[in-house]
Amino acid sequence: MKHCLVAFLFSALVAASSVYGQEFKVSSPVAGFSVTQLDGAPAHFDNVKGNVTLVMFISVQCPVSNAYDDRMNALYQDYVPKGVKFIVLNANRTELAAAVQEHAREHSFQFTVYKDENNVVADRFGATVTPETYLIDSAGVLRYHGSIDDAQNVSRVTTRRLRLALDAVLAGKEPPQAETKAFGCSIKRAPKGT
């Protein structure tokens, strides 16, 4: 009976942690990963990370992600001078590099957008929605996972969750909330085996 209970708890734990093979969890280290530049060249996390690194999954077509375009640009303007590096990723199989490039140009993104081919990085982070963010501290530990703030409509925002997390991590403190959720578009994943 005791063995059955242990086996059940173990399998429940495995099931809970196996959202698309999620590997990186809050309070755990983030191992190196590779992304693809829009010209097709690879880029490695070790070469693009900063003292504090913000990984952000976005979309070309998702209206929720697009509702945050100005807020993303503002984040970039405010936090790059503080030493934060941005790794902005598009993991949607339905959005090709050319469309991602055009979208970045149209919205005057000041940050580089990378493609996450076959959503390999999204799988490792367990990212499922756009926009979705992950904040990595100077020791390479994931400190925050979740939404940019608590309202799609900027006029209704009450808590700027990501900014609070960024300020805390930059000050060497724990974010007030380590994980948050919000409604958004599902990441359009590549079929398994491709």
């Binding site: 499922t128 929605v129 409604f183 359009k188």
Partner: protein, 168 residues
């Protein structure tokens, strides 16, 4: 729900998108729903298999699959399937959401999430759910969540799961 129905869903969805919208208040209204109201709603469907569809007007795959969900419910309601739609739209999109869900022939009442915290609401339904749409949740006859379908779902997978539950 074959490929033809899938294409038909997209056509209906696109037609709705470009159809002239009436000015003023929509003919149907959406019922606000929070965590407690969600629990009460699920409890009210005990004895039936309940499919809950979280959707939004901004979610193209949600709009595309709605006609298929309504067709599935129409075909299986006599066997004990109930369908509930919950819009995750912002308040300013409520008239468009009400119009769309009514146009689709989804069963009433139609709901819209009205919560203090999306975090708490999402976690109360399924802690493993990130908030990504579309999202479908299947409850058994005891009101227990048995399966979650997050993102675009293979209609055959959903049909099989529902058929299995209706058969037991």
């Amino acid at each position: 729900m074959n490929r033809r129905n899938w294409i038909r869903g997209w056509i209906i969805s696109l037609a709705w998108l470009f159809w002239p919208k009436p000015k003023g208040i929509a003919a149907v209204s959406l019922t606000p729903l929070d965590e407690a109201a969600f629990r009460r709603m699920v409890a009210a469907h005990r004895g039936r298999i309940l499919l809950v569809d979280f959707w939004a007007t901004w979610c193209a795959p949600c709009r595309a699959e709605m006609p298929q969900l309504v067709a599935l419910w129409t075909a299986q309601k006599r066997r004990g399937l109930d369908l509930v739609t919950i819009s995750c739209d912002e308040p300013e999109q409520e008239p468009a959401a009400a119009q769309f869900v009514d146009w689709q022939g989804a069963p009433s009442p139609h709901y819209i999430r009205h919560v203090a915290s999306d975090d708490n609401f999402i976690n109360s339904i399924d802690p493993k759910w990130s908030g990504a749409l579309p999202a479908l949740f299947l409850f058994d006859r005891n009101g227990k969540l048995t399966q979650s379908f997050i993102g675009e779902t293979d209609p055959k997978l959903l049909e099989t799961a529902i058929d299995r539950m209706l058969s037991t």
